[in-house]
């Protein structure tokens, strides 16, 4: 553990709010990104982010530096994510909490040199399709894919984070890519007929695509 990290953690243990903020600032983007890509819901991602840091701060006394703090923290977030859906699936319909796509487009406009509204719309539809497919992956496959494809972590790192063997990571990743590939191909074929989501009464349920 680097000396300054040890120092910050000491201060967190002593209840120093500045240190808490410093840790939060350092890690929030990465943790949130994983959560958002995994949940596809800013509300969920925010909840997980908050819960992650709350758990971390409460149990920081038990962190002994066997792994890096980043790893430890990300593990907490991953566990919360993986449990999140299991809990919520039984509680409420998921469509309501999805990313509001118009918000998303508005949000991106300043950063995205999209040529015209039509292009923006196409981009939005593609993104929806992809996130729907990703969302249908089983939780651990989905997490492995998010960490690999979007976070660009190494297989070895993912195996450490998810506490599974590298072989399992590889197999998750393979299955995820095959599913996504087939999903994208299938949607291309049926794109103009029926909304593909309706054919899979899966996690998302029907009604996403209007």
């Amino acid at each position: 553990m680097p000396a300054d990290e040890r120092d910050v953690l000491e201060r967190v243990r002593a209840g120093d709010i500045d240190a808490v903020q410093a840790l939060f600032e350092e890690h929030r983007t990465r943790i949130y990104r994983v959560c958002l890509l995994y949940t596809d819901s800013p509300d969920d991602a925010k909840d997980v982010l908050q819960e992650t840091f709350m758990r971390a701060f409460r149990s920081v006394g038990r962190f002994r530096g066997e792994s890096s703090f980043t790893t430890w923290l990300t593990r907490i977030a991953i566990n919360i994510c993986l449990n999140l859906r299991r809990d919520r699936r039984n509680l409420e319909p998921l469509d309501a909490e999805r990313v509001d796509d118009q918000d998303m487009i508005d949000h991106e406009m300043p950063h995205t040199p999209l040529g015209n509204p039509e292009q923006a719309l196409r981009m939005r539809e593609l993104r929806e399709r992809i996130m729907t497919l990703v969302g249908r992956l089983p939780p651990r496959e989905r997490m492995a894919f998010v960490l690999k494809h979007f976070e660009e972590l190494k297989i070895r790192e993912i195996s450490v984070l998810m506490k599974i063997s590298e072989g399992t990571v590889k197999s998750f990743l393979h299955r995820a890519v095959v599913t996504l590939r087939e999903g994208l191909a299938g949607e291309r074929e049926t794109n103009d007929s029926a909304p593909s989501v309706a054919r899979f009464p899966g996690r998302r349920g029907p009604g996403r695509i209007s």
């Binding site: 209840g15 808490v20 958002l36 890509l37 840091f53 998303m104 991106e108 590889k170 590939r181």
Partner: protein, 277 residues
């Protein structure tokens, strides 16, 4: 190579195709895969379509949504700061109605003629609260929390937060002051329902986080109790309940609490404010 072995081989290499796309193969694995690809049309096709799929995913630029509505420290500060508070504060059951007895109020030490009566740790905290509010920013006194008050139990290591802590304390002081004014108003009001007071309480409730934070850092049960009680009372005022019995209970609780809040006011200011109300 027979058809059967080829299929087995293809299955074996299925994962490697994906790993290849993510550049996760060792040199040897890569060579082995390449030599298989050279003779296997199916695997070449699978590699191509997987690559296309991943490129399609990349083209959606989903990474751009990755910080969509990224919460800032301000968004989560309340919860996160609160999570640091020692458990008694967080775990304390909410006690709406009949929370503060006179005995408890007395144990919290009242401010008498500007002098603090006993109370070691509490003393130094109350001191800090009053001093930071009553001294100007230009004449920075040594922060009372930077050392241990004589005879007091050593304070937890909040001293390193120095300046921030001072600012927080100052903020908390204002919160107490404004709360006290609302409570005074409430205690002196005969109206059954008052939207203004309710609104003022709601505003004050937004500031409770800093008070909790200070309380959490200080780790003094009495301060925590004060903060929790005040929050409860403000919540009740904010709810603007017109039930007569609740109103009477609330009034009595408010009077109790007022005694406790005087702690945080420099006496002369308190006198001025009281004459105004």
């Amino acid at each position: 190579m027979s058809e059967e072995t080829r299929n087995t081989r293809c299955q074996e290499l299925g994962e490697d195709l994906v790993l290849h796309l993510y550049d996760e193969l060792s040199e040897a694995e890569r060579t082995a895969l390449d030599s298989h690809l050279a003779i296997c049309n199916d695997c070449r096709e699978e590699l191509r379509s997987s690559r296309d799929a991943l490129q399609t995913i990349d083209s959606a630029r989903i990474d751009q949504m990755a910080t969509f509505r990224l919460p800032s420290w301000d968004d989560l500060e309340d919860e996160l700061a609160f999570s640091l508070a020692p458990l008694p504060l967080a775990a304390k059951p909410r006690r709406f109605g009949g929370m503060s007895t006179m005995a408890k109020a007395a144990s919290i030490l009242l401010l008498a003629g500007g002098a603090f009566i006993a109370g070691l740790q509490w003393n130094s905290i109350a001191d800090a609260i009053v001093q930071t509010a009553s001294t100007s920013r230009t004449a920075q006194p040594p922060h009372p929390l930077d050392g241990t008050a004589s005879g007091a139990a050593p304070l937890p290591a909040v001293a390193s937060a120095g300046d921030r802590m001072r600012a927080f304390t100052e903020q908390t002081h204002g919160y107490f002051q404004r709360s006290r004014l609302v409570l005074l108003e409430f205690a002196n009001s005969d109206q059954i329902s008052d939207g203004t007071m309710s609104a003022a309480s709601r505003n004050l409730l937004r500031e409770t986080a800093s008070a909790r934070r200070v309380a959490g850092q200080i780790r003094d049960e009495r301060i925590q109790d004060l903060v929790v009680t005040l929050e409860e009372i403000l919540t009740r005022i904010a709810s603007n309940d017109t039930d007569a019995a609740e109103r009477a209970r609330l009034r009595s609780d408010v009077e109790d609490l007022l005694g406790r809040l005087e702690l945080t006011a420099p006496p002369e200011r308190f006198a001025q404010e009281r004459s105004r109300t």
